[in-house]
């Protein structure tokens, strides 16, 4: 780690703080904003997320080495953390810190993208089921029951077993496809209560077709469970991706993902604990931040909840 | 005059609000007494502090947001309830002083049978065996007029109608023959015909068991029929206090006047106020910001400068009988000529 790296890292931290401060400033007037920040873990959670995203985006500035770079396989493999290697080197003499930072791009990126897929499908299905009722609702909900029957990990295992080599975009898509079921139930419940409201009758009286009513009028009002699902969903996806990558079934080495980094360092844990520990810590911190923010969002956006 | 059963002096119960709007002074210096065997009615709109008052007596106020201020004094049969140790307080709750609440559906535990919930008080306070307590529960169900009590005792609250649930609550409260029953809006959630039945039941039980009843309600009709004396509350304070006939015949506080005038009457002359119902203008103020001076002055048709500047104490209205029988918190008592409404 040279001076520029440290400066960049410091800059990232400052940037994250600024982002959080700006968010706080802009939401101070809204009731939801105040309720959100009343949670003591909300602000640190936002900061952690902002920090990791900033660091991931600024990876080339913050990382002293390239992520695939094997520095000196004979003498510098499994090197302990030092001033040169902030978090040590892994069994292939690659700088753990650099890989962690580039790995953030992969892990966070997959998390966000898969979540978008899952939440989009879940919201659409839930809204259609909740609004149309008749036979569409039971049919879609049976589909959800079926989807929930097989645990996500096993569904992914089946897919990986059958198709062997999955391109990363397909991998992301599939993770999303296996995870929309819970969101659809939440959105459906919200839509069921929303559809009785006057603004729906008003829209229909104006001649709006069913599709328009659902997607332009009802769904925006069902934003609360969608947003909360999204925040908590990223965490679940990240854990799933980490697990699959750890098993060697996800992101392929040498592309760094926090999950496969843990696998890389696994067998040297006894002598070089840092290779596996730091990626795991990173995952834990980010998921923890996501859970904290998700919880705070749930309280802030649900108008029916009274402050305990 | 006999020793009062319950004596409340200068009760102040405040709540800390979360949003930084300050302290809500829900009950701000309330004093009254309940004699043995009498029915005291406490009347007022929502937000006047009557429910908080009743919860404060048994110290059922949740402590973090709320607290009963030092300087408050609640005495039951000569013992200060506010300084009792937890164990002693528990011995009084459900045993000497019992309470029933407004919503019988949510006030009964949905996962236990009605019989279990009634018997529990007997088991805890009177050390009855389970079988004896169950027999007692059946007796109580019969006492409150529930048909087929031997069968009903094993029913769950959701299997009963609203009126029956309220009877169950009454049975639960009376199983240990308390000396004082606090009834917080016992009929508000019920249909009018059931209301009448419940009030009748309470009257009958009171006579049979010789207990005192504190009847809290916003409905003047309820109070007119059942109470011996009435306390009218507004903005956390007592504003008028009188025997029931006197209160209805000669209401002295403008708020009480307004309440009585608001009751629609079938025998009213048709062309009254352009045929409109009479209401008290304005709204109950927030407990975090009681008005200065007399708290009712913003809504009072007679208010003048003194009312805005100086808060009146409870003044004796005389009217025959012992001093303190009829008290009013209003400057009109010192200045009766002012009792002409502004246009």
């Amino acid at each position: 780690m040279n001076l520029w790296n440290w400066l960049a890292l410091g800059g990232a931290a400052v940037m994250a703080l600024t982002i959080v401060a700006e968010i706080r400033r802009h939401t101070r007037t809204s009731v939801a904003g105040r309720r959100f920040f009343r949670h003591p873990t909300a602000t640190p959670g936002l900061f952690v997320l902002a920090f990791f995203v900033t660091v991931a985006l600024a990876a080339p500035l913050v990382a002293p080495y390239r992520p695939y770079q094997q520095i000196d396989i004979d003498r510098l493999a499994d090197h302990a953390p030092s001033t040169r290697f902030l978090l040590g080197t892994d069994p292939y003499s690659r700088d753990v810190w650099s890989r962690l930072v580039y790995g953030a791009r992969i892990s966070l990126g997959i998390g966000a993208l898969a979540m978008v897929v899952a939440v989009t499908i879940g919201a659409a299905v839930g809204a259609v089921a909740g609004y149309l009722r008749r036979w569409v609702d039971p049919a879609l909900m049976r589909l959800v029951d079926i989807g929930l029957a097989m645990p996500r990990m096993f569904a992914m295992l089946v897919v990986v077993a059958l198709w062997e080599h999955l391109a990363v975009p397909v991998f992301v898509l599939l993770i999303g496809l296996t995870g929309w079921f819970a969101t659809s139930r939440l959105v459906r419940a919200e839509v069921l209560s929303l559809r009785e409201r006057e603004f729906v009758s008003a829209a229909r009286a104006l001649g709006a077709g069913t599709g328009r009513v659902i997607f332009r009028h009802v769904l925006p009002n069902a934003a609360a469970p969608i947003i909360v699902s999204a925040a908590l969903g990223i965490g679940n996806v990240m854990l799933l991706e980490a697990g699959l990558s750890f098993l060697g079934l996800g992101v392929p080495s040498p592309v760094p993902s926090w999950g496969n980094m843990i696998a890389d360092g696994w067998h040297k844990m006894a002598v070089a604990w840092w290779s596996s520990t730091f990626p795991g810590l990173a995952i834990s911190l980010v998921v923890m931040a996501l859970n904290a923010v998700g919880d705070a969002l749930r309280d802030a956006l649900d108008p029916r909840r009274e402050a305990a | 005059m006999t020793e009062p059963l319950l004596r409340v002096r200068d009760l102040q119960t405040y709540f800390v609000t979360e949003h930084g709007s300050g302290t809500a002074r829900a009950v701000d210096g309330v004093s009254f007494e309940v004699q043995p065997g009498e029915t005291l009615g406490i009347v007022g709109e929502s937000g006047c502090g009557k429910t908080v008052t009743s919860l404060s007596i048994l110290r059922l106020i949740p402590e973090p947001p709320g607290h009963i201020r030092p300087g408050s004094f609640i005495e039951f049969e000569g013992r200060n309830l506010l300084t009792l140790k937890p164990r002693e307080l528990r011995a009084i709750r459900g045993n000497q002083i019992a309470m029933i609440f407004q919503e019988p559906m949510t006030s009964l535990n949905p996962v236990f049978t009605v019989g279990d919930q009634i018997a529990e008080a007997a088991i805890v306070h009177q050390r009855l065996s389970r079988r004896a307590a169950r027999t007692r529960a059946i007796e109580m169900l019969r006492l409150v007029g529930i048909p087929d009590p031997e069968e009903r005792v094993d029913h769950y609250p959701h299997q009963m109608s609203g009126g029956m649930r309220q009877r169950v609550m009454i049975a639960m409260a009376l199983v240990c023959h308390p000396k004082l029953l606090i009834a917080d809006e016992p009929t508000t959630a019920l249909d009018v015909t059931i209301q009448a039945q419940i009030l009748e039941l309470l009257d009958r039980l009171q006579a049979e068991l010789g207990m005192a009843v504190m009847l809290i309600t916003h409905d003047l009709g309820v109070v007119a029929g059942s109470a011996d004396r009435v306390v009218v509350m507004y903005a956390g304070q007592v504003v008028e206090q009188a025997p029931t006939p006197a209160l209805f015949a000669r209401p002295l506080h403008p708020y009480t006047e307004g309440l009585l005038a608001s009751v629609p009457r079938l025998d009213a002359p048709p062309a009254r106020e352009h045929g409109r119902l009479h209401g008290i203008p304005g709204q109950v103020p927030a407990a975090t910001a009681w008005p200065d001076g007399c708290r009712f002055h913003p809504r009072c048709p007679y208010a003048w400068d003194r009312c805005r500047a100086e808060a009146p104490p409870l003044l004796d209205a005389g009217g025959g009988g012992d001093p303190g029988t009829h008290t009013v918190r209003c400057w009109l008592l010192t200045d009766p000529r002012r009792r002409t409404p502004h246009s």
């Binding site: 929930l148 645990p151 062997e164 750890f246 995952i283 834990s284 | 996962v111």
Partner: protein
């Protein structure tokens, strides 16, 4: 109640059937036709012939589907080419290990989680609540396999308090047939069960804390206090009994979590359960094992949900006894 039970049972069977059908089509989509043995060099002709007949590999699709269902009902999940035995046999050996791991983890999860959740709710906003709440948040956010690695490192490799993996001592206790061997099994089971159980417990604690807080605010809790009951009785009898209802719902949700976590934990601790079998099979391109394991897992999840629903109906008198 009985009618409801029959309907739920029928629905559960329908879901399992639907999952099996979906799996059939996915296999077909990926491989062109189920059980076309690519690894035929490992298998003898007799087995290949038998497979061709039993699964209708040269028949049209609808016939294959019917045979597929028939075989499933008979408990035939196909052939593992890597292990050279029927998939069902391999799974039958592995399932008890997964089951003991999941069960032990479940016990730890619920015992610790419930106690913590209740304690936190009662001491809301106190120091204990805040500290434990954040600790639970952290543990619940950890990857289970990472916790496993850390526990292995600390307690097995450094401190030598526990073995480094496997279900038992291979030399002394190849089978659990005596008390010392049972204890040896339990000793080997401890770390894996703790790994899976603690992460679950953290989630359970968070959930139960919220459920308990919700119940404590209810009117009937105030009524119980007004009756002069001890606070402990108010909380542990009146409140908890109601807070256990959402807990039962949680039981249904915990099954998928435990079965998923078992895959990773089994891998870390070399625990010979279904998950490890499936992952190994993937690496050996033995995919019928994987699909078989996935089907069995789905059936377990559906069964778990059914049990949870029945428990809930029994526990909540509003469902069990029909109202007026």
């Amino acid at each position: 109640m009985a009618a409801w039970l029959v309907r739920r049972l029928a629905a559960s069977i329908a879901i399992v059937w639907a999952v099996a059908t979906l799996t059939f089509f996915v296999i077909h989509l990926a491989r062109g036709s189920p059980f076309l043995p690519e690894q035929s060099q490992h298998t003898d002709l007799a087995t290949l012939d038998r497979l061709r007949r039993e699964w209708g590999l040269d028949r049209p699709l609808p016939e294959q589907y019917v045979l597929y269902l028939r075989n499933l009902v008979r408990g035939d999940l196909g052939e593992s080419f890597g292990l050279r035995r029927p998939v069902a046999d391999a799974l039958a050996d592995a399932i008890p290990h997964t089951f003991t791991l999941a069960f032990a983890a479940l016990l730890i999860d619920f015992a610790v989680g419930l106690a913590l959740g209740i304690y936190q709710a009662v001491r809301e906003r106190g120091v204990g609540d805040i500290v434990l709440g954040n600790a639970a948040l952290f543990v619940n956010s950890m990857p289970t396999f990472w916790l496993g690695l850390v526990l292995l490192l600390v307690f097995a490799q450094r401190l030598h308090w526990f073995p480094v993996g496997g279900p038992s001592d291979p030399v002394l206790c190849p089978r659990v047939d005596s008390l010392p061997c049972l204890l040896d099994f339990a000793w080997h089971l401890t770390l894996p069960a703790l790994t899976l159980g603690l992460v679950g417990a953290a989630g359970t604690a968070r959930y139960q804390r919220a459920a308990m807080l919700e119940v404590i605010r209810q009117d009937y809790v105030r009524t119980a206090r007004a009756k002069g009951l001890r606070e402990r009785r108010v909380l542990l009898v009146h409140a908890l009994r109601n807070a256990l209802l959402p807990f039962i719902t949680l039981v249904g949700l915990t099954f998928p979590f435990l079965l998923t976590g078992a895959v990773l934990v089994e891998w870390v601790y070399a625990w010979p359960g279904m998950g490890r079998l499936a992952v190994t099979a993937i690496l050996q391109r033995d995919y019928y094992v994987v699909t078989g394991a996935a089907l069995v897992t789905s059936a377990m999840v559906v069964l778990g949900n059914l049990i949870a629903d029945v428990l809930y109906a029994v526990a909540d008198p509003r469902i069990r006894v029909r109202g007026a």
